[in-house]
C-alpha cells in the first residue's frame, strides 16, 4: 500500500512531469490561458494518460514481449496513444461540443504530448507491474492537471499585470513556470 502512495506522491509532486521533468510543456503553455479550458484539458489528458499507460502496458507485455519484437516499442506506443486520443476526441465531441471547440487543435495534439509517451516508456523501463503502471499514468496525469489548472488561474491574473512589453504573454508565462519549477525542487527527497 505504501509503495502505491509513494508512486502517486512521486509522480504528482516530486517528479512532476511538467515542472520537474519538463515534459508536456506545449499544452501547459498552450491551453493555460483560461481556467475553464485548462480544467477541460486536464480532464482529457488524465483520461488519455491513464488509458494510454494501461494499454501500452498490455501491448508491451502481451504482444511485444511474447513476439520478441521489443524494438518496435516506441512506434507501437505511438500507435496506441493515437488510438486512445482518437477515442477521447470522439468521446468529448459527443459529450461536450463546447469543450471540443474550445480545446480545438490541442485535443488531437495530446498525441504528441511527450508526457504521454514518456509515461509509457518509463513504465517499461522501470518494469512496473500492471497496477503500478496504471498508478504511474494516473499520478503523472494528476500532477499535470494540478499544475496546469493552478497555472491557468495565475495566467488569468498575469494578463492584467503591467508586464514590460518584451515579456508579455508566453515569455512571462515561461518565467513563471521557471519560478514554479524552483519551488517544486523543495519536494526533493520526499520519496
Amino acid at each position: 500500500m505504501s509503495e502505491f502512495a509513494a508512486i502517486l506522491l512521486s509522480t504528482v509532486l516530486v517528479n512532476n512531469y511538467v515542472l520537474v521533468q519538463f515534459l508536456g510543456l506545449c499544452p501547459f503553455m498552450g491551453v493555460s490561458n483560461k481556467l475553464e479550458t485548462a480544467i477541460g484539458m486536464a480532464g482529457a489528458t488524465t483520461f488519455v494518460l491513464t488509458l494510454a499507460a494501461i494499454c501500452s502496458y498490455l501491448v508491451h507485455n502481451y504482444v511485444l514481449v511474447p513476439l520478441n519484437i521489443e524494438y518496435l516499442r516506441t512506434i507501437s506506443f505511438i500507435l496506441v496513444i493515437a488510438v486512445v486520443v482518437q477515442f477521447a476526441k470522439m468521446f468529448i465531441e459527443k459529450t461536450s461540443p463546447l469543450l471540443y471547440r474550445v480545446l480545438g487543435v490541442f485535443l488531437p495534439l495530446i498525441t504528441t504530448n511527450c508526457a504521454v509517451l514518456g509515461v509509457a516508456l518509463q513504465n517499461t523501463n522501470k518494469a512496473n507491474s500492471f497496477i503500478e503502471s496504471t498508478l504511474f499514468g494516473f499520478g503523472a496525469a494528476a500532477g499535470f492537471s494540478l499544475v496546469l489548472i493552478l497555472f491557468s488561474a495565475m495566467r488569468e491574473r498575469l494578463s492584467a499585470a503591467d508586464v514590460p512589453q518584451p515579456f508579455e504573454g508566453a515569455a512571462i508565462g515561461m518565467i513563471t513556470a521557471g519560478l514554479m519549477s524552483l519551488a517544486f525542487m523543495g519536494f526533493a527527497g520526499l520519496v
Partner: protein, 360 residues
C-alpha cells in the same frame, strides 16, 4: 447630482502603502535586534547591503521602463523586500549572494511582473529560493548562536565580518563560529532518542523550549507580528491557520521522543523561519489569497507543506518553498473563495456563468 464642495481641512486616510510598509519595517526591529544579539553584526551587514542592492536595482529598472523613480521608491516596498531577504540570509554570507538574491527578488520576481501589486510570488522568497538551490554551501552556513559558542569560538568582529562578506577571509575563520541550526540538528539525527539528542547537542541543551538562540529570534518576530496584527496591517487568518496546521501536523507525528519521532510542535513553531514566515511573509497582501476564507486555506496549506518538507524532504526548513508553492495556488484559491457581494445571499464562483436574462 451636485457635488458638494468641501473646503479644507480634509481628513487623510490612515493607511497608504508607504505607511503600511513603514509599519512592517518597524515591526521587524525586535527580530533584527535579537538576530544581531545572537549572531553578531552579520545581520546588519546583510540588511545594509540588501537595502542598497534592492533600491539600486528597483531604481534602475524603473528608469529603464521610464516610470517615475522617486514615486515608486518612496513606497518603501523595495525596502521591505530587502529587509526580509537580509533577515533570511545567513549572516556573514558573501556580498555577491546578497546581490544575486536582490537581483532575482526585485528584478525578476517584482519588476518583470510590473512592479508592486502585480507580483504573483513573494519577491524576497523568490530571491531566497534561487540562492538556496544555486548556492547550498553558502546558504546553509549559519553561525551558532553566541550563547552556545565554546571558549575557543567567537563570532567575527566588524573587521572579520567585512572581510568574510567581501571575500578575503581564510576558511579557517569559518569553522570558528558556524554550527547546525536546531532544525538541521534534528534532521541529521539518525537513531538517537530525542532525550539523548537533546543532551548531546549544545543547541538543544542550552535551550529553554526549542533551540538555543533561535527560540528568542522567533519570539521577537512573533512580537513584531502581534504588533502588526494590533495595527490591523493584516488579518489573523493566514498566520493563525499556518501555525495551527503546522502545530497540528507536528502533534500527530510526535510520539514523545522516540528515535523515529518528529520534532515537537514547540520546536517547529520556534525554530527556523516559522514566525518570520507566519507574520511577515505569508501575509504579503499581493501574493497571498485575498478573501478571509481563502487566507485560511492558504495559510493552512503552507503549514502542511512546511511540515511535510521539514519532516520528510531534503531541506531542514521549508518556509520559502511552501510560500512559493502556495503563491502559485493563490489565484486558484481566490477563484473558489469569492466573498459574498453586498445584496446577494450567496457568494458566486468566478467560473459561474452570469445569467444575463435574470439580471434586473
Amino acid at each position: 447630482m451636485a457635488l458638494i464642495k468641501q473646503s479644507s481641512p480634509h481628513t487623510r486616510g490612515q493607511t497608504d502603502t508607504t505607511k503600511i510598509m513603514q509599519t512592517v519595517i518597524l515591526a521587524t526591529i525586535p527580530g533584527i535586534l535579537t538576530l544581531t544579539y545572537f549572531f553578531g553584526i552579520g545581520t546588519f551587514i546583510n540588511l545594509i547591503l540588501a537595502s542598497a542592492f534592492c533600491l539600486i536595482i528597483e531604481a534602475s529598472v524603473l528608469k529603464v521602463r521610464r516610470r517615475p523613480v522617486g514615486f515608486f521608491l518612496k513606497d518603501y516596498s523595495a525596502l521591505v523586500t530587502a529587509v526580509l531577504l537580509g533577515v533570511a540570509l545567513p549572516p556573514y554570507c558573501p556580498w555577491w549572494i546578497i546581490f544575486i538574491g536582490s537581483l532575482f527578488a526585485i528584478g525578476i520576481a517584482k519588476q518583470l511582473y510590473g512592479g508592486l501589486g502585480y507580483n504573483p510570488f513573494n519577491p524576497a522568497m523568490v530571491g531566497y529560493v534561487v540562492l538556496l538551490i544555486s548556492f547550498p554551501v553558502e546558504m546553509t552556513r549559519w553561525p551558532a548562536p553566541t550563547s552556545i559558542l565554546t571558549d575557543s569560538q567567537s563570532l567575527p568582529g566588524l573587521t572579520d565580518a567585512l572581510s568574510l562578506v567581501f571575500g578575503f577571509a581564510s576558511p579557517v575563520l569559518l569553522d570558528g563560529y558556524t554550527g547546525a541550526t536546531p532544525l538541521d540538528a534534528f534532521k541529521q539525527n539518525t537513531g538517537l532518542m530525542a532525550d539523548n539528542l537533546y543532551a548531546s547537542q549544545a543547541i538543544f541543551r542550552e535551550a529553554h523550549f526549542a533551540g538555543a538562540g533561535w527560540e528568542w529570534v522567533n519570539v521577537a518576530f512573533l512580537l513584531g507580528g502581534l504588533f502588526l496584527l494590533y495595527r490591523k496591517v493584516f488579518t489573523w487568518h493566514a498566520p493563525i491557520a499556518m501555525l495551527a496546521s503546522l502545530g497540528f501536523c507536528a502533534l500527530i507525528f510526535y510520539d514523545g521522543g522516540s528515535n523515529t519521532s518528529g520534532a515537537s510542535p514547540l520546536l517547529h513553531w520556534f525554530s527556523g523561519a516559522t514566525m518570520l514566515g507566519a507574520f511577515f511573509i505569508i501575509t504579503d497582501p499581493v501574493s497571498s489569497a485575498v478573501s478571509n476564507k481563502g487566507r485560511l486555506i492558504y495559510g493552512g496549506c503552507i503549514g502542511i507543506i512546511i511540515y511535510v518538507i521539514r519532516q520528510w524532504g531534503n531541506y531542514p526548513d521549508a518556509v520559502a518553498f511552501a510560500v512559493l508553492l502556495m503563491n502559485f495556488a493563490a489565484p486558484f484559491i481566490d477563484y473558489y473563495t469569492l466573498p459574498r457581494t453586498y445584496g446577494h445571499t450567496q457568494s458566486r464562483r468566478a467560473t459561474d456563468k452570469i445569467d444575463t436574462s435574470q439580471r434586473r
